[in-house]
């Protein structure tokens, strides 16, 4: 065997087992999901799952809620993360302390975080209403109020994710050569201008990364909704379907109603939407700036 052939064999022998794994665990199930989605529970070929889905108002609630989670939480967690990163840059001492504290929520279990916030949100005995009472605002129902529930869930998501944005932005900020700032100052530019014309554009790749990954994550919202609104009596996603996300909807149909085919159809739709949003984001946000 000549060298090239030998190399090829070696390479593929190393890759054989893992490739098999990917085929079995990722590619085959993807096809299976698509296939399931066009079958009925008895096994005949049909598009009825999709018809049923588009006719179900709860599905549309889940779609709108999921989009709301994306639109509500991503910009805020990015902006707050950026502000925190910039504020930390200004601090001389104890930078590591701030970084740790702000990053702590991100590494904490979503389940634990959700239950703590659920306790704080409690309309009768929760911390938040107590604090609101101190400043004379009437108690809110938060998670039990259809008008406030989604935002309440969103707040938990932002609280957990902003530390991640902060960390990534910190790295991005440190990568900007001080030279640019000095040059701008010599040219007489004020802080505001420096931020808009130099800092922000140079952080573009970072912002793009955070927006895309954050968007995908927000589309997959599940654990928070389950633990903030679920209970032994009622399925998660209330009150009145105001917090149900697409994954929650899929889970309820697949693993509580045990309609795997229908749930697969929901999952396929979710997949398509994630693809569309990701491609859209990549097209509009990615602009490289050369100086």
């Amino acid at each position: 065997m000549d060298l090239k052939a030998k190399r090829t064999v070696t390479a593929y022998s190393f890759l054989a087992l893992p490739s098999l794994f990917f085929l079995l665990i990722r590619i085959f199930p993807t096809l299976s999901a698509f296939s399931l989605s066009v079958h009925t529970q008895k096994g005949s070929l049909t598009t009825s799952n999709y018809h049923q889905m588009f006719a179900d108002p709860v599905f549309w609630h889940s779609l709108l809620n999921t989009l709301a989670y994306v639109v509500l939480t991503i910009p805020l967690q990015i902006v707050i993360g950026l502000l925190m990163a910039m504020a930390i840059e200004r601090v001389e001492r104890l930078r590591w302390f701030y970084r740790i504290v702000y990053f702590l929520p991100y590494i904490t279990s979503i389940v634990a975080v959700s239950w703590v916030w659920r306790l704080m949100y409690d309309p009768n005995t929760g911390l938040f209403n107590e604090i609101l009472g101190w400043v004379g605002i009437a108690p809110q129902n938060f998670l039990q109020d259809p008008k406030e529930a989604l935002i309440s869930v969103g707040a938990v998501m932002i609280w957990q994710m902003m530390g991640f944005s902060m960390l990534i932005y910190s790295a991005g900020l440190q990568a900007i050569p001080r030279l640019y700032y000095s040059a701008a100052r010599i040219d007489g530019a004020g802080s505001w201008k420096i931020f808009w014309r130099i800092t922000l554009p140079l952080l573009n790749p970072t912002t793009a990364f955070l927006a895309v990954t954050g968007g995908i994550q927000a589309m997959q919202t599940f654990t928070q909704v389950e633990n903030l609104t679920g209970s032994s009596g009622a399925a998660a996603g209330g009150p009145l379907h105001s917090t149900v996300s697409m994954v929650v909807y899929m889970y309820n149909n697949g693993f509580q109603e045990f309609n795997m085919q229908y749930a697969s159809a929901v999952a396929v739709v979710l997949f398509v939407i994630i693809m569309i949003i990701t491609l859209f984001q990549l097209k509009t946000i990615s602009r490289t700036i050369e100086y």
Binding site: K4, R7, T8, T10, A11, F14, L15, P18, F21, F22, I25, R26, I27, P29, T30, S32, A33, L36, A87, W96, Y98, I100, V101, Y102, F103, L104, T108, S109, I110, V111, W115, V116, W117, L119, T125, W159, F164, I168, S170, A171, A175, F209, M219, Q220, F222, T223, E226, N227, S231, G233, M246, V247, Y251, G254, F255, S264, A267, L270, F271, I274
Partner: protein, 260 residues
């Protein structure tokens, strides 16, 4: 900065609440009326909490080690070996990255039922053994390994496998530790798939155990103090580990964010 307070407040609340007795929750009190350890006693005495902890640990370690081994191997082969089809394989693996797990959990479950993997360690672990993200990251870092080192080893007659293990792997240690931390963390906190595949109480991982306990009907309303105690014990070790390894963790996550 008052931002610190906003961030730290929920943690504080969690710890304080875990030390309250159940009656403290009928009205608002900031501090426990008197420190009540009964929630903690209950956890260790009456629930399978420790087992859940162990399960999470086992799953986390196995998946992380598997991921590191396979991801670095695949990344090494894809980065340092030129052979027909290497691009295709890479694109194929990368494309799986775009597939959300939500879509896969249903087929995984159907598969697990057929293969009797339900409610087992393997059932919890198998989806995460190799991650496309890890392969991508390792490949990026493997590019940085000097070819001279590899060729020298080849001239010395080392087998390709030995070369990977003894030469390439030590060169990418920072990336490995970063990936290891991210993988472990992701598995420790994983919820969707574990809650689907686990059915018995003794196989639960920590997040599933806490969640199912909290939302179960415990014959007396939500057992807040126990839930808070469970959460506290779940969170404190992570915080301690984080404090010890903070430098590596922060570097690691930043590294993947910058390269990704």
């Amino acid at each position: 900065m008052c931002g610190v307070l906003f961030v730290a407040l929920p943690f504080l609340w969690m710890i304080l609440s875990s030390l309250k007795s159940l009656s403290d929750f009928y009205s608002f009190t900031f501090f426990p009326k008197h420190i009540d350890w009964s929630a903690y006693q209950y956890i260790f005495g009456q629930t399978e909490y420790l087992r859940w902890y162990l399960n999470s640990f086992i799953v986390g370690i196995v998946v992380t080690v598997s991921g590191l081994l396979f991801d670095s191997l695949i990344g090494y082969v894809l980065a340092k070996h030129r052979f027909p089809g290497s691009k295709v394989v890479f694109v194929l693996i990368l494309s799986t990255f775009m597939i959300p797990t939500e879509m896969l959990v249903i087929p995984w479950y159907v598969m697990s039922v057929k293969l009797h993997w339900v409610d087992s360690y393997w059932g919890i672990m198998f989806p995460g053994m190799i991650e496309a993200f890890g392969v991508f990251l390792m490949r990026q870092f493997m590019f940085g390994v000097p070819d001279d080192l590899l060729n020298a080893a080849r001239i010395d007659g080392m087998s390709e496998f030995r070369i990977w293990w003894n030469v390439a792997v030590p060169q990418v240690k920072p990336a490995l530790s970063a990936l290891g931390i991210i993988t472990f963390l992701g598995n420790w906190n994983a919820y969707l798939w574990p809650v689907i595949i686990i059915s018995s109480s003794k196989m639960r991982t920590l997040p599933v155990g806490i969640a199912l306990y909290a939302s179960a009907d415990n014959g007396g309303g939500i057992q807040w103090n126990t839930i808070m105690a469970m959460s506290t014990i779940a969170v404190i070790p992570i915080i301690i580990v984080f404090l010890i390894f903070q430098k590596q963790i922060v570097e690691g996550i930043t590294l993947t964010g910058v390269k990704g």
